[in-house]
């Protein structure tokens, strides 16, 4: 009965149109659009990866090995499964261009392929030739296809010659599209494509050098991919084989996109929370304007339930409309952003409606709308018929009935549960939602403090009327200090935290790291090259330090005779292959924290010295056994010591070191770090790589720049999320300013009556906006600095200092936003005719 009547009442009330609900709709739509947009973009990429899995991988399935080619047994297994097999060798080297003016060198990521490459997909070259023609070369030299970035870096043009190791190549084409580039993850240098057989005389793939081999297979129709994987893993996992297949052709990027997407959606939740503040304010203002209607309905006999349902239905309909607008906008996001995504990630995207992304946004939108409208709606119960004679709505208590509190609690729990389920990461969700709730609580408390301080300050500003009026207004609940601080504060807090973290990280990288980091990593140094290498360094006064160590790569497969994944979960030390070294004596710079180092001539059962921090993280104890697969051979040793390994200096650090006898017989090369004055770096690079073309030099500065760029992209993505939050916050500000316009008009009319000029009134309005904006900015800055400090200190373990330009920008942003919103609605109050305003209020 109640529902039917309420529906009828609601329909009548909605005849008034959407006036007064624009901010409500905008806040909800923007929040839902941001989440639906992020989700849709993520789904577009994931769908692209799924659809193009085989192309991204370069085959139906792939077996990958580190440091070696496949064994006979492995090749035999592949031939039994596949109709075609293509071998790809991936490694880093130096591209060297010799000219009369001098020699130039550039780090490049080489992909050496066979005639069958690519099994699936198409390599596109900028001059329109095919790969076979390009590899054929000219003038008796083999051809190479290089990435335009490498061409630009080394000023190479088509027909120019360059060397990889000892082998000279001619540039026959620039790479326009590499179908399987996403499968391998992020490389350190731009791509060079050559035929593997053309590297035979290059001296680059000698035993012990660092390279990966990938065997792409086109499987026969009769082969079940699940069974094939299970069989391959069972037979070859212990030899260091890694399996991937077309069901997830770009696992690294897929995981990155999924994690970044989940994180950004949680950032989007912050935007929705800010939108919720606006939604709540809009509903409160709407219901306040309906006090007389509600009181009249009550006087005519409407029950509290009927009244509640009447407005619940109205707001429900409007919420559905807001969510629908948001979903439409979110669905369009991948279409609009498609060119941007293509430019950033070498991935195909599938432009379509992605129901799961829209469902996620709908659930968040609906729950947020319910959470933020329930309390204002609950207050309709407090309106009595007597309100027709006095303003009882304003006198109603702030806390609603217990059943509404319980309902709010259940809705909040549902929101957190939904976010955990959708993101698939409970810990991240709890931290993020806890962070948002904590920030909102902090901002709410701050708004109370701001009002209290304003009250005190207004009493001390008695000779400055404009300032006193501004402070008095801020201290009053009518001015909406809470709305301003909450709406603006959350977005600014996230922006401030990102700015502080990013600034400190960049500071640490650019300021602190160069003073402790080496100039170069030299890799693939053969044993017989080491004496000359060390002599060159020792004779150079500009070189302050050289560290070198034998370098192998291995995969930790078992710990205490159980699979390593069972023992250590998904810890990074057991993910993929790691650098492994050996040493006879404890290096001078190494600090032993527990256990004992082996004797220099020890030749018994292999012993292992492990990094102390990582050992603690995976629960490794002295005396535990560990099996490491190196070059397809299992070596099992006992952990006999723990060392302090500091990765933060970008110096040499091996998680796992064995005694010399355990590894010295295996083919391997050496790695060296060289600490030199900047001016001497070019000469060192020239001398070493000229004399030893197989040696690859990695500039630490370039590598750090690459890492900085990736971190910068993540910071930028987070900033965009925060900017969306800020935009929603600005909408809420506009809403608050619009809602406060009537109060300001009234106030301006009284002040004019008392003799205030328009200039003075405008100054007071501007002052209160600026003061509130400054306060919101300062609160956000405090929260941001605290967050930035916590992340820098506890997670990044870097020194923290306040990034002042960012801090000032945050405060200035707060002032600007409130000034814009406040002054946009100042015209009407200033032009008001006191008589009409005051008489209409009578």
């Amino acid at each position: 009965m109640s529902l039917r009547i309420a529906s009828r009442f609601a329909r009548r009330e909605l005849r008034g149109g959407l006036r007064g609900f624009r901010i409500f709709l905008a806040c909800l739509a923007l929040g839902v659009a941001a989440i639906a947009g992020i989700g849709s973009v993520r789904s577009s990429i994931e769908a692209g990866i799924a659809e193009q899995g085989a192309v991204l991988l370069g085959g139906d399935a792939q077996m990958q090995f580190t440091y070696r080619f496949a064994s006979e047994a492995e090749r035999a297994w592949m031939q039994a499964q596949a109709t075609s097999i293509s071998e790809v060798v991936d490694f880093r080297s130096m591209a060297v261009v010799e000219r009369d003016s001098g020699t130039e060198r550039g780090l490049t990521q080489i992909k050496a392929v066979d005639d069958l490459y690519p099994l699936i997909g198409e390599v596109r070259l900028d001059n329109g030739t095919d790969l076979k023609t390009a590899f054929a070369g000219q003038d008796g030299l083999p051809g190479a296809v290089i990435h335009p970035q490498l061409a630009a870096q080394l000023a190479l043009e088509l027909g120019d010659r360059f060397k990889l190791g000892l082998q000279e190549f001619v540039v026959t084409a620039l790479l326009a599209h590499e179908p399987d580039s996403a499968g391998g993850g992020f490389g350190l240098g731009p791509r060079t494509l050559v035929l593997t057989k053309d590297l035979a005389d290059s001296a680059l793939l000698a035993p012990g050098t660092l390279f990966d081999t990938q065997y792409r297979m086109l499987l026969a129709d009769t082969v079940d991919i699940d069974l094939a994987q299970a069989d391959a893993v069972a037979q070859f996992e212990d030899t260091g084989m890694r399996w991937s297949d077309s069901r997830n052709g770009a696992p690294n990027i897929a995981a990155f996109v999924e994690r970044l997407g989940a994180f950004l959606i949680l950032v989007g939740l912050a935007g929705l929370a800010v939108g919720g503040v606006g939604v709540s304010a809009a509903i409160r203002a709407y219901l306040a304007s309906k006090t007389q209607v509600i009181a009249t309905l009550r006087s005519l006999g409407a029950s509290r339930a009927t009244i509640f349902l009447t407005y619940f239905i109205q707001i429900g309909i409007l919420s559905i409309l807001g969510i629908a607008i948001g979903l439409v906008l979110g669905t369009l996001a991948p279409i609009v952003l498609s060119p941007v995504i293509s430019a950033v990630l070498p991935l195909p995207t599938v432009i379509a409606v992605h129901p799961e992304a829209l469902l996620e946004a709908t659930v968040y939108g609906a729950l947020t709308a319910l959470i933020f409208t329930l309390w204002p709606l609950a207050r309709t119960e407090d309106v009595r018929a007597a309100s027709l004679f006095r303003d009882a709505m304003n006198a109603a208590p702030g806390i609603p009935a217990l059943r509404y509190l319980l309902a709010t609690g259940i809705l909040l729990a549902a929101l957190v549960a939904a976010a955990s389920w959708f993101s698939g990461n409970v810990t991240l969700t709890l931290w993020t939602t806890g962070g948002i709730a904590g920030a909102l609580l902090l901002l709410a408390l701050a708004s109370v403090a701001i009002r209290w301080v304003s009250r005190r300050a207004s009493r001390r500003s008695r000779r400055r009327p404009a300032l006193r009026w501004a402070l008095a207004a801020i201290s009053s609940p009518r001015e909406g200090a809470a709305s301003v601080v909450l709406s603006l504060g959350l977005g600014l807090s996230v922006l401030a935290a990102v700015g502080q973290i990013d600034g400190n990280l960049r500071g640490a990288i650019s300021r602190d790291l160069p003073s402790v980091a080496p100039s170069y990593f030299f890799v693939d140094i053969q044993r017989d090259q080491m004496p000359a290498f060390l002599e060159r360094m020792d004779s150079d006064p500009a070189v302050s330090k050289v560290e070198s160590a034998p370098m192998l790569r291995g995969i930790i497969t078992r710990i205490n005779d159980t699979p390593a994944t069972e023992f250590a979960g998904d810890h990074w030390v057991i993910q993929g292959d790691r650098g492994v070294s050996y040493a006879a004596e404890l290096p001078e710079t190494t600090e032993l924290l527990a256990g004992e180092w082996w004797d220099a001539d020890y030749a018994g059962t292999p012993q292992i010295s492990f990094a102390a921090e990582e050992a603690e993280e995976i629960g490794l104890q002295l005396g535990d056994t560990m099996t490491v697969n190196i070059l397809g051979r299992d070596i099992t040793g006992t952990v006999t010591s723990f060392r302090n390994v500091d990765f933060s200096t970008a110096g040499m650090g091996f998680v796992l070191v064995m005694n010399e006898a355990a590894l010295a017989g295996a083919p391997h090369s050496f790695i060296a770090t060289v600490y030199a004055e900047k001016e001497a770096e070019t000469a060192i690079l020239r001398d070493i790589t000229s004399a030893n073309p197989n040696i690859t030099a990695i500039s630490v500065r370039d590598a750090i720049d690459n890492v900085s760029n990736i971190l910068g992209s993540i910071a930028a993505a987070t900033s965009y999320g925060a900017a969306a939050t800020l935009l929603t916050g600005f909408l809420v500000l506009i809403g608050a300013a619009a809602a406060g316009q009537q109060n300001r008009t009234y106030e301006a009319a009284i002040l004019k009556t008392l003799g205030a000029t328009r200039r003075r009134i405008l100054a007071s309005f501007a002052l209160r906006s600026a003061l509130l904006g400054t306060a919101a900015g300062l609160v956000a800055l405090t929260a941001g600095i605290l967050g930035g400090w916590a992340v820098s200190f506890y997670i990044l373990e870097t020194e923290f200092e306040i990034i002042w330009n960012n801090a000032l920008a945050i405060v200035a942003g707060g002032v600007l936003a409130t000034l814009l919103a406040g002054l946009a609605f100042a015209a009407a109050p200033l032009s008001t005719k006191p008589a009409r305003t005051l008489r209409s209020a009578d």
Binding site: W469, I750, L754, G755, R758, L838, R839
Partner: protein, 228 residues
């Protein structure tokens, strides 16, 4: 006797949904210094509009208003505001206190605007004069209607205006409170020697005026001197 307020053929027409509505049709009158003038008449007769024009709170459509020798119709909005703060006090039926300010701050506001150094001391004195010294730090919402109107009176009187305008000052109050407000209003007039123009429906209040003008349909219907 010096004329404080002079109106010559004042007209007021306002835009409404139904088009242009003529509110006042050529009102002419003079108010000498120290006089208490009552404006009475039925609702919609234009008495409050006339009072608003006298205070420069509304602009005339035609005619001239001179207050204390200055032509209000020639002044812009800000000049009118400055004129009011130096010369006028206005009291409304609905009090119109600034809700974000305490009683003391409300009373001090016109003094601050006029640049008084001792605005708050003066405001406190005025509050005490209306019997509300103990409510100085209370907000309007914490006071009764009678108390709010007393604050409004104190605020109007604080700058010692030469001209006091009151628009149905007892209209929103019960009998006892209305009586008290009337006493205070006339007390303030006497204390500061101000000229008082008030709009009222109250016969008792009108009876205490030196002269009463009855308006009907925007025109002066009758004028009654106190002695009559």
């Amino acid at each position: 006797m010096t004329t404080v307020l002079s109106l010559k053929d004042v007209r007021l027409a306002l835009e409404s949904n139904a088009g242009l509505v003529e509110i006042l049709h050529g009102i002419s009158l003079e108010v000498p210094q120290g006089e208490t003038l009552g404006l009475i008449g039925p609702s919609g007769s234009g008495k409050s509009s006339l009072l608003m024009l006298m205070g420069g709170l509304e602009r005339t459509s035609a005619g001239q208003i001179t207050a204390l020798g200055q032509d209000l119709t020639a002044m812009n909005e800000d000049a009118l505001a400055r004129f009011r703060r130096e010369n006028m006090g206005v009291v409304f039926q609905s009090f119109h206190l600034i809700p974000t300010m305490t009683a003391l701050e409300n009373v001090a506001t016109p003094l601050e605007l006029a640049g008084h150094n001792n605005a708050f001391e003066r405001a406190r004195e005025e509050l005490e004069a209306v019997g509300l010294g103990h409510r100085a730090d209370h907000y309007p919402s914490q006071m009764s209607g009678g108390e709010q109107q007393r604050v409004a009176l104190a605020r109007a009187a604080a700058p010692r205006p030469k001209l006091l305008l009151a628009d149905e000052p007892t209209g929103n109050l019960d009998g006892a409170n209305g009586e008290a407000i009337m006493d205070l209003l006339f007390g303030l007039r006497d204390r500061h020697g101000a000229t008082l123009v008030l709009v009222t429906h109250s016969r008792a209040l009108a009876a205490r005026c030196d002269r009463v003008i009855r308006l009907r349909d925007g025109r002066i219907d009758t004028t009654q001197e106190a002695a009559e």
